[in-house]
Amino acid sequence: MTAKTTASGVPYDAQGEMTDQARRDAAMKGFVKEFGAVAASHLESCVRCGMCSEACHFYVATGNPAYTPIHKLQPFEQAYKRHAGPFSPVYRLFGLVPSVTVEKLQEWERLIFDACTMCGRCTLACPMGIDIAELIKKARHGMFKAGLIPDRLQLMDRTARAWGSPATPAEDFADIIRDTGEELGVPMNVDRDKAEYLVTVAPAELTEHTKALADAAKVFNAAGLDWTYHTEGFEASNIGYLNGDLELQEKMTRKLIDCAVKIGAKTLVLPECGHAYGAARWEAARWYGGEVPVRVIHMTELLAEVVNSGKIRLKPIAQSATFHDPCQLVRRGGVNEAPRDVMKALDLKLTELENTKALTWCCGGGGGVVSNTRADPIRYKAFELKKREVDATGTQRFVTACGQCRITLNLGAKHFKWDKKVESLLELVADNLAD
């Protein structure tokens, strides 16, 4: 893993000892596998109107035209036109569309990974309905095969493959759970043979935010649910979904689903994490031929269920608050009302951000960007958009429902010395359970 720069002076990371030609071929193979009718209908319809740029926080915050979302797909589209489009035989025969060069892929690594959180706001802006976020994810498969992904994501990929989680080896998982339980005096269930609910965790919760593990336990116990954590299926964040490593994505997803089936759980609860929801809720069926044998829900959906069904009652906080809608949960996931139901139950008087629900600005850290330190400068710029809108609401509390967003927003707050505390919805519920 070495940081390099292209002839045109653009920094990129490269993994593995492949020759340039081999790297390019691997990328093309990765791309070509993605060119189905769905990608074709999108890639054939762009009219270069530029409206997606106005939706992208990286372009709006920096003003750099290179961050125009559709521009980030240029090599992917070129490969499509040359290898899979209806006119591809003609383009190849007359050399009308050149094959993608490895320099271009190296140059575009920064645009496909650093400058895109796959938040999907551009997809909502595109008048032709091109799902640019989806296509970026497809493009990342090829980039991974070519070994042209940010080193930090490669690092996390290797640890996840080795340990089953980027945060901790699987063996230590049960101890972390029990230690946290004892430390915070919360009864914990781990590695039970049978349970109705299999609860999974995010990497941050295994390192700094271990309190979240206890918070989840408190809620499940208060609601009288039959639940457990489990060593064979605990890591919900799916690095393969972010860095294009399809094999890892499949392996991580299968671990969760198979473990849930093994312990007879009817519901698999994902933690407060964005891409975990995207990977497990919407793409698990990809590995299970259309029928996922277990109900997959996000922690926020679980909270709304137990609150709305009266399984738990909450003490009112009676303060003003604003909410950051995590992109993968709301814009890409459709869970609009659940967090608001919970906040109402907490008697938090919600003032919506100027851009909210499906139109919210992304925190700037999703899709592996926060882990990829090379992207920090533009991430901080994007953070300012969110900071300005939160300040504008003037509310006392600032809540969200995704660990990655909280990390990103906290890093931004520290960088700008912003005294706003970013709070987790789960934590608020756990701390305000009525006795």
Partner: protein
């Protein structure tokens, strides 16, 4: 065989043939690629595939509020020349008669002087669109030759049409012939450039409509 006879006869016929061949070739060629839809379980209460598809097509016709504000020019000017072109092409009586000759379908048209005014507005709007493409740094970066060819081949029929209606530029038959020839070139280029979005948008919007619609997400 005057220029007008050539334009109205063999040239237009050849152009229509190439248009149909190219359009079907690209359309079927793109959509017969493997569909491989990711079979995710839709959220209950989310619309079925067909209604999600149609919803996707309908919702994209109007931008969400923040994008209407920032992309205002593209969105408003875009509609002006699209609606303008639609009125001029489909509600101008001579055009309706041409379509009737080809397909047998007919419908009432708008007064010619009204359509001429619309034609002028459309031409101005197209010029504004070109200026915007030339001035905006984003569009400068992502624009290609196709965008400029497609613009020119859409603008020329409007221009020659207006000149023919106003009996300017050349003898009426010559300008009418140029008008028809400009349409022939437009039809020949249509399937190979971005003008195909006129057909493919339905599929592109539909796919996203289904993917996000079945997640219960906003489109």
């Amino acid at each position: 065989m005057t220029l007008l006879d050539f334009a109205r006869g063999p040239a237009l016929q050849a152009a229509l043939v190439i248009f149909i061949i190219g359009a079907l070739w690209r359309f079927i060629g793109a959509l017969l690629l493997p569909w491989r839809l990711v079979p995710a379980q839709p959220r209950e209460g989310s619309p079925g595939t067909v209604s999600a598809w149609l919803k996707g097509m309908a919702v994209k016709m109007w931008p969400h509020e923040p994008f209407a504000k920032h992309g205002a020019f593209q969105f408003i000017n875009g509609y002006i020349f699209h609606v303008g072109l639609a009125i001029v092409v489909f509600l101008f009586v001579p055009h309706i008669l041409f379509i009737q000759g080809l397909t047998g379908l007919s419908w009432p048209g708008l007064p010619n002087s009204f359509v001429t005014v619309i034609g002028v507005v459309t031409a101005a709007s197209l010029v504004a669109a070109l200026l915007h493409r030339l001035r905006s740094p984003v569009l400068q970066l992502i624009s290609r030759v196709d965008d400029y060819i497609s613009w020119l081949l859409t603008f020329l029929p409007v221009l020659t049409g207006l000149l023919a209606t106003a009996h300017l530029g050349a003898r009426y038959e010559t300008m009418l012939a140029l008008h028809i020839l400009s349409i022939c070139v437009f039809l020949i280029w249509f399937p190979f450039g971005k003008l195909m979005h006129a057909f493919l948008f339905a599929f592109s919007r539909g796919m996203t409509g289904v993917r996000l619609g079945q997640r219960g997400a906003e489109l």
